[in-house]
Symmetry: C2
Subunit: 119 residues, 2 copies
Amino acid sequence: MINLFSDLPDASLAEVFTPLLERPGCRIERILSRGQTTPTDAPYRQVHDEWVLLLAGAARVALEGREVALLPGDSLFILAHTEHWVTYTDPTVTSVWLAIHLGEGEMPINPPETKNPGL
Amino acid sequence: MINLFSDLPDASLAEVFTPLLERPGCRIERILSRGQTTPTDAPYRQVHDEWVLLLAGAARVALEGREVALLPGDSLFILAHTEHWVTYTDPTVTSVWLAIHLGEGEMPINPPETKNPGL
C-alpha cells in the first residue's frame, strides 16, 4: 500500500488521480493538485455525493454562492448535483486530497430527458 | 465542519471517536488515540470491511500473523471477520486516524445460529 504523503508524483502539469479502494456505495481516491483550478465555464457537477478532505497544501472551493478556503484537516461535503469549482490550489506545493465518492452508480448517469422518447 | 487536526480533545484517558459522515455502505469517523492498545484477549473483529488511514502520530496494528507499523499517510485495509489488535499508539502525541467502515449493516450482526429456533 502506498503512503499517501510519500514519493508524490509531479502534479504540476496535471492533477494526479490515484484510486485507493472501491466498494458498493464508497469509492476512495487520492487527488494531487499543484496550481490547477476548475475553468469557470466548466464546473464539476456529479450525480453522487462527495466528501473531500484536504490532507496537505492549500485550496479554495466555490459552491452554492460561497468560496471555502481549505487547509490541511479541513473537509467539505459536496451534495450531488451541486456545481462546484476548485478556485485555487497552491502552486508552490503539492496539495493532497482524499476524496470519498458516496453512492456512486446508484443513480443513472444520463438524466431521463436525454433518453430517446421513441424507445 | 471541524478541522480534523485542530483543537483535538484529550485522548490520554480514552480514545475519542468522532462521527463525520454516514451513508449506506460508507461510515466515516475520526479516531484519536494516545497510548491506547487493544487487550490481547479482546481483539477487534468486525462483520464489515474497514479502511483506516493514519493521519498523524504513530501506531502499530497486528493482524493475520503480522504486525504493521503505521506512520502518517499509511493506510490499512482490514477485511471483515479479521481479528486485529492495535499493539501500539504513541503515548507522547495524539494519533489521528480516519476510519472508513464499508458495507456496514449489510450483513446480520448476529449470526443465524444465535436466533431462537422457536421463532
